[in-house]
């Protein structure tokens, strides 16, 4: 990939920030969907039960920890991949 000059880097940084915001929004709605799917199955009431509330809390925290770990491994694997591609 061609290197970006300073001006291009600045412009690209703006693009990156916009994407980060969009990505965060997607993360949020994805997580809501996931925890609803996995935790909320009792419709005898319109209010979340305490069991469901606890489940949602655990679901959210677990997902974020999961995402963090996957992110770390991803960086490592990506670095390895770059090394291997250069050897080819």
């Amino acid at each position: 990939m061609d290197q970006l000059n300073v001006k291009e880097q600045q412009e690209f940084q703006q693009i990156v920030e916009q994407k980060q915001m969009k990505d965060f929004m997607n993360l949020y709605s994805n997580l809501v969907s996931r925890c609803f799917e996995d935790c909320v199955n009792d419709f005898t009431s319109a209010n979340l039960s305490s069991k469901e509330t606890t489940c949602i809390a655990k679901c959210s925290e677990k997902f974020l920890k999961h995402s963090e770990r996957v992110g770390q491994r991803f960086q490592e694997q990506n670095a390895l991949l770059m090394q291997n591609l250069q050897k080819r």
Binding site: H66, R73, F74, Q77
Partner: protein, 91 residues
């Protein structure tokens, strides 16, 4: 003579940014898929606790490694198939 023919084509700023953006999208897309798939394959959806268990952690590490290896293999396979003409009509 000088500057006539043979030189590499000038890549515009616009094109460079688009290429960089495409690469970023690809990596982000891959990461998001990886997160979702490894969650499905490794994380217990009963959520007994909010921490990742040792077993789940090990599964995740292996899941990511295998995903990358799969990525490389599919790339190689597609290259071979492209050469043999199996991808004709798709290119």
């Amino acid at each position: 003579m000088f500057g006539l023919g043979g030189s590499t084509p000038q890549v515009s700023s616009q094109q460079k940014l688009q290429a960089a953006e495409a690469e970023l999208d690809m990596v982000t897309g891959m990461f998001n898929q990886l997160v979702n798939q490894c969650h499905k394959k490794c994380i217990n959806a009963s959520y007994y606790e909010s921490d990742i268990t040792k077993q789940e952690a090990l599964c995740l590490d292996r899941c990511v490694a295998k995903y990358f290896e799969t990525n490389v293999q599919v790339g190689d396979n597609m290259q071979k198939l492209g050469q043999s003409g199996a991808l004709m009509g798709r290119q």
